[in-house]
């Protein structure tokens, strides 16, 4: 509540009607999935095998390309766009460059994020605005596609700091690593059908930039 009051007092007043300040952060997924492979057996023993698969940003971006009809470059990045002062349903965006021009593609419809709870243990200097401390956040990410879907959730022990807009401190920002786990399904092939997957790993949320965006 104190952070909200401070931000309301310190946020610059925009001339435009719908220009808002958003915290732009980068997401990095490092997940490992276990799925059930075809069983084998011999004369005396029946074997069930667990297959292993890794999922990182490249894999997620590759899966989203057909949904948005864009082939992204290898420099494409997954971003989390959070409104200020508090945003429990931030947007997920893929940022890339085409012919030198930066462009963002909102993929929240297919890959969404939700912050269930955010508990701060912080010290916030009022003037100038400066935040420090820790924040405990429960965050979930959900990929919802025809051939692949998963949902992971975890607790992040986040570091609290100050986000700046054009050099001025304007927002309290949370960065850190979320230890996440969950489950999903993917279609190995038409013949094999859908295979359930158990997932665990980390999601790194980094960056303290605050940008003015027209919405």
């Amino acid at each position: 509540m104190l952070a909200a009051a401070l931000l309301a007092a310190s946020a610059p007043r925009s001339e435009a009607q719908n220009t808002v300040l958003n915290i732009v952060q980068e997401l990095r997924f490092k997940l490992t999935g276990y799925y059930q492979m075809s069983p084998t057996e011999n004369a005396s023993t029946f074997f069930r095998h667990a297959g292993k698969v890794s999922i990182s940003n490249n894999d997620i971006i590759n899966l989203l390309e057909p949904q948005v009809n864009i082939i992204f470059t290898s420099d494409a990045r997954l971003l989390l766009i959070r409104g200020t002062p508090v945003d429990l349903t931030p947007r997920v965006v893929i940022r890339d460059r085409f012919e030198g021009e930066q462009f963002d593609t909102d993929v929240t419809e297919y890959f969404s994020a939700q912050i269930f709870v955010s508990i701060e243990d912080t010290k916030i200097n009022k003037n100038p605005l400066k935040g420090s401390g820790v924040c405990y956040e429960v965050v979930s990410f959900e990929l919802n596609l025809t051939d692949v879907n998963f949902r992971i959730q975890g607790l992040g022990n986040m570091k609290v700091s100050t986000g700046k807009h054009e050099g001025d401190p304007v927002a309290i920002v949370h960065t850190g690593k979320v230890e996440a786990s969950g489950s999903g399904e993917y279609q190995v092939s038409v013949l094999s059908g859908v295979v359930p997957v158990a997932l665990f790993g980390t999601v790194q949320i980094s960056g303290k930039d605050v940008k003015a965006m027209t919405e």
Binding site: K30, S38, G51, K52, N57, N58, S74, S132, V134
Partner: protein, 188 residues
């Protein structure tokens, strides 16, 4: 004569007893150590202590803020008096670390040799945040050609934590990616 001797003996005994009482060390009770009077450096100051901090009465050894006990930081540690020079140095160091971490994470997904060399050079950095950032960026690259170099770094280091982190990164790199599995590049 015998009674005289007894009287002298009693008198000497009394004198000796009195002398012992005078000479014996007195047990003293040390004054209790004064609790920390400073406000917690980190963490929220409880509302009742905030009132004392802003009141007209100065904090003293007998004030409620100090008589109840120590003020704890948000992570359960007693508050320490701030050294402004040390705080400034720590902040500068932390800013440098954050800048370097941001540079390394910016190389995530890159597979060119120069980027890999930059990341590999920081895998055994003395700063843990920088080491983690380098290994995370290498994991994102899915570049399996750096596995031998990672194993060489693990062989040379004595740090069990770093050995374990490198082993996890190598294991992640060796694991088939979801893209490879979906494209049928990995036989089930």
């Amino acid at each position: 004569m015998r009674s005289g001797f007894v009287l002298k003996l009693c008198g000497f005994g009394t004198f000796a007893l009195f002398a012992l009482i005078l000479v014996s060390p007195k047990a003293t009770i040390a004054p209790p150590a004064e609790p920390e009077a400073s406000i917690a450096e980190e963490g929220v100051v409880p509302s009742d202590q905030e009132n004392w901090a802003t009141s007209d009465l100065p904090l003293s050894a007998n004030s409620p803020a100090t008589s109840i006990g120590r003020v704890f930081t948000g992570n359960g540690e007693p508050a320490q008096a701030e050294d402004p020079h040390e705080t400034s140095r720590n902040e500068e160091h932390q800013a440098n670390v954050e800048a370097r971490v941001a540079e390394l994470l910016g190389l995530s997904g890159k597979t060119d040799r120069r980027s890999m060399d930059t990341l590999l050079a920081e895998v055994d950095s003395p700063d843990q945040e920088i080491r983690e950032a380098a290994l995370d960026a290498i994991s994102q690259s899915a570049n399996r050609s750096v596995i031998p170099e990672l194993l060489a770094i693990a062989e040379q280091t004595q740090d069990p934590g770093l050995k374990r982190a490198i082993a996890e990164t190598v294991e992640f790199l060796k694991t088939p990616t979801l893209t490879e599995v979906l494209e049928g590049q990995v036989h089930q």
